[in-house]
Symmetry: C2
Subunit: 763 residues, 2 copies
């Protein structure tokens, strides 16, 4: 089109070149573009008639330049090696000068060209990038830094358990534990068993058991082991948990010395694989309604364990399909036709050669979404007789006269007391879940650092972790994973030091943190999968297994929605203990009046305060969390009370506010998490580490407030200007934390052999 002899005849025509190129670069010349260009050409008094005609001819939208011509223009302009970009006409003038350094344009002409550019909406600098290489932007140059000592941070995370953690990591990083693909379910299950046997050899299985059983009577260590193992294959972790946690602990906590002496050693060494048979086909959440029966026969001093109907089959029982030789079976004890509620019994399933015991039949649950290394099964009992001493008799027993005895009169209360001793599962599961989240985040963040995609015109491609949305995906979960680390440590400590008085509070805390953490894990691993794109979908990159294995954690040890309601109900009744024993109505009134006084917090200056210092202030965060916790609890109490006052059945009333109750539980758990995180920040030694934790803690707080901003606005606790400012601050914190992101995942110190994903490989 342009590079004809004609233009060489008058090199000044080159001033049009950058404009022509830019307008044609999208292959479409719009009417406005044509009009503006025509007017510009007509106004140029220094152009001859033929020159004008020639220039106008090149604006015919049906005659676009050939691809080769367009390329030639670009090459010509690029040959100038432009350093500073101003406007397209300044590039044009430079081009003219290349042909004849003496040529010049009047001030008026230059302005005219610049105005036309503006009218065409061509942002001078932007349009010019097409001709320049090495376009630098803030987004391009944002890089990983490391503003703290990784070892110091790891020390804080590991705390008192550093030695044991190191030991477990060394074991799972051994080649024996190398990941492998499995050709069949059977093979995967066998490998999982072998891994668990290796762990038992190391003494990890019996860790929580008494010394005589080969253990260290160290429950805290047991949780640490579960958590650390969870950097490795999760089928292994769950089979480990079934054997030593569920089967072993049920004997330990529900049985008495005779059972401990008889079984614990073999359980801890995995010589005696067993099951925990509670869940039935018909009863998963509502275990109080279990239907399996244990009928006492006084003449023979035996119990007969029986499955009275298909809904009473024991279902999803881990270790049952292949390896379990015995099971702790939960069944309704019947004596002389009288029902004494659910009790626990040890029932043999197979002999050590794997032959089924008479009356026991087991079906394989088959493939599952994940955890396929665990052999879940369905168990039926057909009049299986067991000796009297097989009843786990810590909380109830049948006396010599054949009568039922228990220090706890009520069947329900007794059953829930038994379940309460097993609440450790609700600590082990979230700690395992958190490890899986940390692995997922490590993989996704490493990938986000290395993977480059898109970039400014003419510039390099940008690490995808520099994109704001990518940061939004991964930085808040990174902050939450730190937050939950400290919260779960707190829960563990509370659990280990629990007394009868605070047992219920701690049960609720465990239930809530289990639900919160496992939901977090599911959501986080979903983000990690998407953040790694197609590579995240390949099994070799491990997110597949992490996600599918942990997916059932939201169901394990109690469905999360059910657990959150349990938390809420506990919150509603906890006041009972705090203030003597006021009755339910008084509590409701109290809760409501408590919340009212706090409304004075809504200071008009604070609800609109958008100062950064205020927004980042930890006291502001904690107050906002506490306000929410209190107000939402009060309004739930108020609503339930109103419904009951109006004659609604309390069961219906609780159902009507069910959605609200889940929020009550959530708000409580979030306050606990923030409180513990802030405590950890204050206690952190070393400025670098403390600063890094502070940012994470601020992000956790503000991101949570942002998530609930609708509620805060509704309450008048914040105004729109403030929630907007918080959103901006969250973006900014994500941008800042992104620098430390790699280092923050390094501080998790997950063995490289456990991470294993090729996309996360260190160079």
């Amino acid at each position: 089109m342009i590079h004809s002899d004609f233009i060489h005849h008058n090199p000044k025509l080159h001033i049009f070149l950058p404009l022509y190129y830019t307008l044609w670069a999208d292959s479409i010349l719009t009417p406005t573009e044509i009009k503006e260009m025509e007017a510009l050409i007509e106004r140029q008094e220094w152009l001859g008639v033929e020159e004008k005609a020639w220039l106008l001819e090149k604006l015919n939208p049906t005659q676009p330049p050939k691809p080769k011509v367009l390329k030639a223009i670009r090459k010509e302009i690029q040959s100038l090696e432009i350093k500073e970009l101003e406007s397209l006409s300044s590039i044009g003038i430079a081009l003219v000068r290349k042909y004849d350094p003496k040529l010049a344009f009047s001030q008026k002409t230059v302005l005219d060209f610049q105005n036309t550019e503006r009218a065409l909406g061509l942002l001078g600098k932007e349009a010019g990038y097409a001709f320049k290489s090495g376009h630098q932007t803030i987004t391009t140059s944002h890089v990983a830094e490391q503003n703290f000592d990784i070892n110091e941070m790891a020390k804080i995370l590991d705390g008192k358990q550093a030695v044991l953690i190191r030991k477990v990591k060394t074991i799972i990083a051994d080649p024996t534990f190398a990941y492998r693909e499995f050709d069949s379910l059977k093979e995967q299950r066998e490998q999982t068993l072998v891994w668990c046997q290796e762990l038992a050899k190391q003494g990890f299985g019996a860790w929580a058991f008494p010394k005589f059983a080969g253990g260290k009577q160290d429950m805290e260590g047991y949780f640490t082991i579960m958590e650390t193992l969870s950097y490795h294959d999760l089928s292994m972790v769950i089979k480990f948990g079934v054997q030593f946690g569920l089967w072993g602990m049920s004997i330990f906590f529900l049985g008495t010395d005779k059972h401990h002496q008889k079984y614990l050693k073999d359980v801890g060494s995995l010589k005696l694989p067993g099951c925990f048979a509670m869940t039935e086909t018909g009863h998963g959440s509502n275990v109080r309604g279990l239907e399996t029966t244990a009928i006492y026969n006084h003449s023979k001093k035996t119990f007969t364990i029986h499955t009275p109907n298909p809904d009473a089959r024991k279902e999803y029982i881990g270790n049952a399909a292949m390896h379990g030789q015995m099971a702790t079976v939960f069944a309704k004890l019947m004596i002389d036709g009288e029902d004494f509620g659910v009790n626990a019994f040890i029932v043999p399933l197979r002999d050590s050669q794997g032959n089924m015991e008479p009356g026991v039949s087991i079906e394989d649950c088959g493939r599952k979404m994940g955890l396929n290394g665990v052999d879940n099964g369905v168990i039926y009992f057909d009049q299986v007789e067991i000796p009297k001493e097989n009843m786990l008799d810590r909380f109830s027993f049948v006396n010599e006269a054949g009568e039922f005895e228990s220090p706890i009169s009520s069947d329900n209360r007794r059953f829930f007391t038994m379940l309460g001793t097993l609440v450790g599962g609700r600590i082990g599961i979230p700690r395992s879940a958190l490890s899986a989240s940390k692995t997922g985040l490590t993989i996704a963040i490493r990938h986000g650092e290395k993977r480059r995609q898109f970039g400014p015109e003419g510039g390099e491609e940008v690490p995808i972790l520099n994109y704001r949305m990518h940061q939004r995906r991964l930085m808040p979960p990174l902050a939450s994973s730190y937050a939950l680390h400290f919260a779960l440590r707190y829960l563990t400590e509370r659990f280990l030091n629990r007394t009868e008085e605070d047992a219920q509070e701690i049960e609720a805390l465990a239930a809530g943190l289990k639900a919160y953490t496992t939901w977090f894990t599911t959501a986080t691993l979903q983000e990690c999968r998407e953040a790694c794109g197609g590579k995240g979908y390949l099994s070799e990159n491990r997110i597949d297994a992490l996600k599918n294995d942990t997916d059932v954690y939201t169901t394990f040890e109690g469905d999360n929605v059910v657990l959150m309601q349990l938390v809420a109900k506990n919150r509603l009744t906890e006041f009972k203990q705090e203030f003597g024993d006021i009755n339910m109505f008084t509590i409701f009134n109290y809760v409501v009046s408590q919340a009212k006084t706090s409304i004075t917090e809504k200071n008009p200056l604070i609800v609109r305060n958008t100062d950064q210092a205020h927004l980042l202030d930890m006291d502001f965060h904690l107050n906002a969390f506490k306000y929410r916790e209190r107000a939402i609890l009060a309004s739930a109490a108020q609503r339930i009370k109103r419904h009951i006052d109006n004659g609604m059945d309390s069961f219906d009333a609780f159902n009507v506010v069910q959605h609200h109750l889940v929020n009550v539980g959530q708000a409580y758990i979030e306050r606990i998490i923030l409180e513990e995180f802030q405590k950890a920040v204050r206690e952190a030694a070393g400025k670098g580490v403390q600063d890094a934790l502070t940012q994470l803690c601020q992000l956790y707080a503000l991101h949570t407030i942002e998530k609930n901003s609708g509620w805060y606005l509704e309450q008048g606790y914040m105004e729109g200007v403030k929630t907007k400012a918080i959103r901006k601050e969250v973006n900014q914190l994500c941008w800042e934390i992104r620098k430390n992101a790699l280092a923050l995942t390094d501080a998790f110190d997950i063995p490289e052999s456990c991470i294993a994903a090729p996309i996360a490989k260190r160079n």
Copy 2:
């Protein structure tokens, strides 16, 4: 404790029995309870000293009653067969009368007992349920209804395509297509191929192709086939899509007659399995940066296809690992050292016996999270020579003189035009995703109807679908799945009737609906998994496959976050077409001023209006959606403009607002969805069907507004009273729609053999 001769001596003591039972039932007697009871006993002048002493003795918290005694009391009271429940003392009095009908208590005594009950916080009616069977509540009695004609609804959903849908359903319900477990990856891939061959035999593969290729040139039918097949195995659907959609359509849309004549018939019959080789290891989203080269050799009239570095490998290519014989390869065309951008070429991979062509090497991608029936592979080209006619030359070609020719001057513009013809994938994928959601919802809702868990004290267990949280989980997705059905139908129609003018708008619409629908599917199937508890985790119940197979849909055909930004950018520039060609700055100014005028909508009466009629009003819904769409677009424009005005690089400016841009895309898509749903409601014939759709449409609208309530409050478009009222209305709509839920999934009319989940089996 109580049933001694003593009480038989004075039957009036029975009045205490229900109170004693209730207080002891939780096994803990609190100080308040003891105090109140002691006072009550002391006040009873009709009691003798010994009787009082005996009663007081039974309040010793360290001497709880034996379990058997507690049971005996309960049985005694139950024997009354109480019909009406008033208070515990009225039950006590009835008990007394059983022993001696002549006995009576003074008015004062009765009141005294009642006051004590109240003081103890025992809600009379509630406490009494322990003694009654058949406790009825609203929650218990809520049941499935069907307020519309299922066939009529199915007709509306199927529309013009009913005959084809029936045909496809008949085929996939054939025993040939029965689901099976696979022992290996190889076996699964072979079965998937066999299924696709069956479908090709039925003519489904060639459906969109010209008649001479065995097709019906019916693109709409092709989408219907994809959608309907998606009730079955999704590996089959994706392999089908790779073969006929990607491989076939790339020849159809990017090639010319000579290619059509040569290949399409064999592609459509699956005689010639092929691949679509675009994505490279280094370039997934930013395909403009592909690095594979196609060097033209004029002397031999050939192209040499080559992988210049490991990042330029073609990755995740479906059909590549095992079955593909040819591929459409996207590569940078080089002529005489000049780069002419990305073009498409047909390259042979294997001969029909499966032997690799010289220079081609392929690695297997191995196991993936899902879609394991599709054989994805990595392809390397080592100087592979292909004849000149293998260039797909609809948009560009090399002329006889060896020069590049194209009607589109710009390489980028040409490439995006090519991609634009392939946008059908962004319609097929969301339609497939929606089918998977419908299957998941059908399974979860059927399970929710059948599964009973918990219930009021003494009453039956309740179907879990009667719980409000369960409804919250499943009813909004049910409403959205109807909403998306109509939106995707609209998208299909727009796509089929597109012109050059609206092509970009429709590309954005497809990108946005693809992202929105696939995110919806991922979230919905997660809810379905959790809503089915442990049963949802078993592979036999199909949610495993549905979830894992569709998980990559959020990445397929463009990462959702990238696509939503594309939508937002299109929205920002679309004004260009609406108002001539104003430049970018003018557009920004226009957009901003447009939004300002709309602020007049914030009528103080409306922002606080909580009338149900108003909240359910479709005009209110659409206005709120439109307001959000406009205002959020304007503020995005404003923010970008401000950043650029302040000297920020536009690349950085767009990055800073990236999070905002995703919301721009979302708000636009949500408005379209609502608009189309409302249209479908208006057009629905038959009151039953129309009412059912109206409720779903209201739920979709209000649930979406609820989700964005923080934003509406921030804007002052609504006040807290209104957002609270909306939340309540959402709960109520969930409760109402729950009645129709089963019928609404029946209207999807998914073949039972495709649903297949045992938990969803019809009785």
